[in-house]
């Protein structure tokens, strides 16, 4: 099948690959680049587990073709930890508050929240936090510890 050249900046690194134009961005990240931290939960754009940032905006990578990301900045969960491997403020708050159990949906939450916190620098209300994460499904935690973690992430980020 015909392949197309895709050039993207992924987690700060430029990547150029030939790829079939039908490949999903999620499959491209996972299968071609080995970035398996981005998980695929539903493949129809509802669960949010595959959320990555494209030019800073959260996007479901299961609903986007890799070729559509040509020329874009892509950020995945692998980019979050600090250079020394320690947690960033959102990861730290998740660990402190038991905001994950199986951890499958977690990368999607982290990426949605990174964008949300950058766009909403002051501490939001609980209701606003709930809305911010309502595009991400979690089947284990019942969300309450995620909400707690978001509040703590704001405090840690001060």
């Amino acid at each position: 099948m015909k392949e197309t050249l895709v050039k993207v900046t992924i987690n700060g690194k430029e990547v150029a690959k030939e790829i079939e134009s039908r490949w999903l961005l999620s499959d491209f990240l996972r299968d071609n680049l080995g970035l398996t931290g981005t998980h695929v939960g539903c493949e129809h754009g509802v669960c949010g587990a595959c959320t990555v940032l494209i030019n800073g905006e959260p996007v479901r990578s299961c609903l986007m073709l890799a070729v559509q990301a040509d020329g874009c900045q892509v950020e995945t969960v692998e980019s979050l930890a600090r250079a020394d491997g320690s947690f960033n403020h959102i990861q730290q708050a998740f660990a402190n508050n038991h905001a994950l159990q199986c951890g499958f949906c977690t990368p999607g939450f982290l990426m949605s929240l990174k964008s949300f916190m950058e766009n909403n620098p002051t501490l939001p209300t609980d209701e606003e936090i709930r809305e911010a994460i309502s595009g991400n499904l979690c089947r284990c935690t019942g969300y309450s510890n995620i909400i707690k973690a978001v509040k703590e992430a704001y405090a840690l980020n001060c």
Binding site: G41, C42, E78, A81, A95, H98, T106, E131, I147
Partner: protein, 787 residues
């Protein structure tokens, strides 16, 4: 000394999961790996007249296309899961009829449900495999479809499996006391039909299998997203005819299970077999649409129940006849059905009790246990009845509960029936009235009734509902642990119970750390790998902490004794005079004269420098298989406070309270997390989730656009109260907690909605309480009032 057990120790699992370094089965990539895609039935019931795979086989990148014919003589069909067969005394007591109803690996000449696997394409990648799926031609001859269990049991119904004669796959009866006498003495008899619909557990990670066969050593390595790797190994060995010890099944990081991953599936047998056939690693990852159709569903019970009561609210007896619509197959004997029968009376003293259960087959996906496993269905029946009794007698439902509770003074309380494990079902301890009182205190019951009146004057409909549960947790037959002191001085604990979010690596490390007087950081727990110890069971039925926790506890004690004996030889001091703390062993009288765990580990090695006392095997390792005498009974009270929008039928949960007893709490943060998560799933079942088939057996709710999982907008923060009655049935007094949260919400929320709309007579005896259903009930009630 308990230093870490009972503390909020942070999870050891989190670093890898938060940094994208987890390894789920879909993340595994091997050299030369092929990928599989599966063609599934689009018919609920049909004959397969022919399958033409020729075009698919010619497709670019396709290695082969496999149908049932290719497996004949190579892979045996499933038999029943022997792990779930009944113990002989229980069988003798309830004399069940259970017809064997195994499932084919791939459908051969007939399909019995939408989603049943028919053909597998193996290709260079998933895209190529899916291309080929579209080129397989199957000629079907549709057969009459049966989706209603009441139609299915009729003599004239289409029979789904001819060899079973009819669609009643199992039948059993349980009888306690003299129910007819009780009904003769009753002042009132209340009858109801109460239904818990079919739902799907829906872990966020779908199923998946990767298999690699190494011909040189005949080793088959399988990774599967499963709750039961040992069961997968056992059936692979039996059905493919392989030496069990040559198979290693690993459950890597598993993205939730909740029950559906507790079965062994055809794909877990066939994909590994194909990797031996094609001598290539093969990967199959289920997509979500396949998951909705083919991963097992659960619940789906209808109870026709009658309760005999006196004027003062005392329950004299209960009769129930229920159907469990199990879909096209049942390989789990009476598992959920008998759980429902055993748990239905819950916390209540009901001395006269008759229950008949029938497992019925229909053209739907087979059912398996899902979080609660027969108990949410039973609680929905019992606690709706409590509410109906209160209605009938114009009593407060809490007073009906208080009237009928088994009291702390009656403990241990013999329920006069056998549990599923064959033991007498005896509730060992607990304070059920205390639990309700605590819940009422947290919610502020009296104040709430005032608020409710005031709100009603303003046209707002507030309601409160309770539900209660007991749960047999920590079922056997066993779970093992190997605890080992590494040469570095680090401690390793291997267990057979396989986690998928339950935090084994943390809680079991806490247990181990306390025995050795070290930090949990100095303990590594490994699980989910059949190479770790010879026997294992799995994580389901709220059993991990009870069974694996107890095994780690006892194995740690055994190893500690051995380490003290070795240190005794090294220090020339009697072992009984030694103490182990902070990684050092020293005489109690002289803490400065010590040997470290690392030095003990070296002295445990065989050879001339060995200091292991005579009569003991060299090595610094101990094994214990914990065999529970029977289950331990957790319990809890759930309270929902809701607001109902009478015009739209929309229900908002304002508060949700859980008071529970899970015995010894290993890590409060993790226990609370289990409860909160369970409640969220229970809320899903109460208000949103329902698997619906149309009359042709087509799955109507096959995507996340129609099958609604609760989001952060729908789940409140659960307020919790704790009781801690230690179980005498295991050394640490643990009771299981995994499922409890999911058991109560349907009954609590349904009761709260009925309460909110009073005095309007609304009976919510089916779920979910969706806006359209509730509006219909309100309209009906309003029409009745007008007449």
């Amino acid at each position: 000394m308990a230093q870490y057990v009972g503390q909020n120790v942070k999870r050891k699992e989190d670093y890898r999961l938060l940094t994208g370094n987890g390894r789920f089965v879909g993340d595994i990539r091997l050299d030369n790996m092929a990928e599989a895609a599966i063609l599934r039935s689009s018919y609920g019931h049909a004959l397969i007249k022919s399958i033409d795979t020729s075009k698919a086989k010619d497709c670019e990148g396709v290695i082969d296309v496999i149908t049932a014919a290719d497996l004949e003589g190579k892979v045996q069909p499933f038999t029943e899961f022997v792990e779930f067969t009944l113990p002989p005394n229980l069988e003798k007591d309830i004399k069940p009829i259970i017809k064997k109803n195994p499932e084919p690996m791939l459908a051969k000449d007939r399909v019995t449900f939408v989603g049943q696997a028919i053909a597998i394409v193996i290709a260079e990648n998933r895209y190529a495999a899916e291309d080929a799926i579209g080129l397989i031609k199957i000629e079907f001859e549709p057969l009459p479809v049966v989706t209603d269990p009441y139609e299915s049991v009729k003599a004239e119904s289409t029979v789904i499996h001819q060899d079973l004669q009819n669609n009643i796959q199992s039948h059993f009866e349980v009888s306690v006391g003299d129910v007819e006498k009780a009904f003769n003495q009753a002042d009132h008899v209340i009858r109801a039909r109460i239904k818990t619909p079919r739902v799907s557990g829906n872990p966020l990670e779908t199923r998946g299998v990767v298999a690699e066969y190494e011909e040189r050593t005949q080793q088959l390595q399988v990774w599967s997203s499963t709750q039961v790797p040992y069961m997968v190994r056992s059936y692979l060995s039996k059905l493919v005819g392989l030496v069990e010890n040559n198979i290693r099944v690993v459950a890597p990081d598993v993205g939730g299970g909740f029950g559906p991953k507790c079965a062994v599936y055809p794909e877990e047998i066939v994909i590994p077999y194909l990797s031996t056939k094609y001598k290539r690693p093969i990967k199959w990852i289920e997509d979500r649409l396949e998951h909705m159709q083919s991963t097992r569903h659960s619940r789906d019970q209808v109870h026709d129940v009658e309760v005999a009561v006196k004027n003062d609210g005392t329950i004299l007896g209960l009769k129930d006849h229920f159907l469990l619509d199990n879909g096209a197959h049942n390989s789990f004997a009476l598992c959920c059905a008998y759980n429902s029968a055993a748990h239905l009376r819950g916390m209540y003293r009901i001395p006269n009790y008759d229950i008949t259960g029938q497992i019925v087959l229909t053209n739907k996906t087979p059912n398996v246990p899902y979080r609660g496993a027969g108990r949410p269905e039973a609680v929905f029946v019992m606690d709706r009845l409590i509410y109906m009794i209160a209605e009938k007698l114009n009593m407060d439902p809490v007073d009906v509960s208080f009237k009928n509770f088994i009291t702390p003074e009656e403990m241990p309380y013999d329920t006069d029936l056998f549990y599923r494990d064959g033991a007498n079902m005896v509730l060992e301890n607990g304070d059920y009235p205390g639990s309700l009182k605590q819940a009422m205190k947290i919610v502020g019951y009296e104040q709430f009734r005032e608020q409710q009146k005031e709100a009603r004057e303003k046209g707002k409909y507030l309601g409160i509902g309770f539900s209660s549960y007991i749960e047999g947790t920590g079922i056997g037959p066993h779970e093992g642990a190997v605890v080992r002191l590494d040469s570095s001085g680090h401690i390793l604990a291997f267990v057979g119970s396989s986690p998928h979010g339950q935090s084994h690596e943390t809680t079991l490390a806490q247990i181990c750390a306390d025995e050795f007087g070290v930090s949990p950081d100095q303990v590594t727990v490994k699980a989910g790998d059949t190479s770790l110890l010879p026997y294992g069971v799995g994580t389901f039925a709220s059993r991990g902490a009870v069974t694996a926790g107890s095994a780690v506890h006892v194995a740690s004690k055994k190893l500690k004794e051995k380490l003290l004996a070795i240190a005794g030889e090294m220090l020339e001091v009697a072992a009984s005079d030694l103490e182990l703390q902070n990684g050092k062993v020293y005489p109690k009288a002289m803490p400065t004269r010590f040997v470290t765990l690392q030095e003990i580990a070296l002295a445990a090695k065989p050879g001339p420098r060995c200091k292991v006392p005579e009569g003991m095997e060299p090595g610094a390792s101990a094994t214990h298989y914990f065999v529970p005498p029977t289950v331990t009974f957790s319990s809890g009270f759930h309270t929902a406070v809701v607001e109902v929008d009478k015009d739209t039928g929309f229900v908002e949960i304002l508060r949700y309270i859980v008071v529970h007893d899970c015995g010894r709490v290993l890590n409060p943060m993790i226990v609370d997390g289990q409860i909160q998560g369970g409640v969220a799933q229970g809320i899903g079942g109460a208000l949103y989730e329902e698997i619906i088939y149309d009359e042709n057996g087509q799955l109507v709710t096959g995507t996340y656009m129609d099958y609604l999982l609760p989001t952060a907008m729908e789940v409140p923060v659960v307020e919790m109260g704790h009781q801690e009655f230690l179980s005498p049935r295991n050394p640490m007094g643990i009771k299981g907690v995994g499922e409890g949260g999911a058991i109560g919400p349907p009954a609590a929320i349904a009761n709260a909605v009925c309460d909110a709309l009073k005095p309007m007579k609304i009976e919510i005896n089916t779920l979910p309480v969706s806006p359209n259903k509730l509006r219909s009930l309100i309209e009906e009630a309003e029409l009745q009032e007008m007449h």
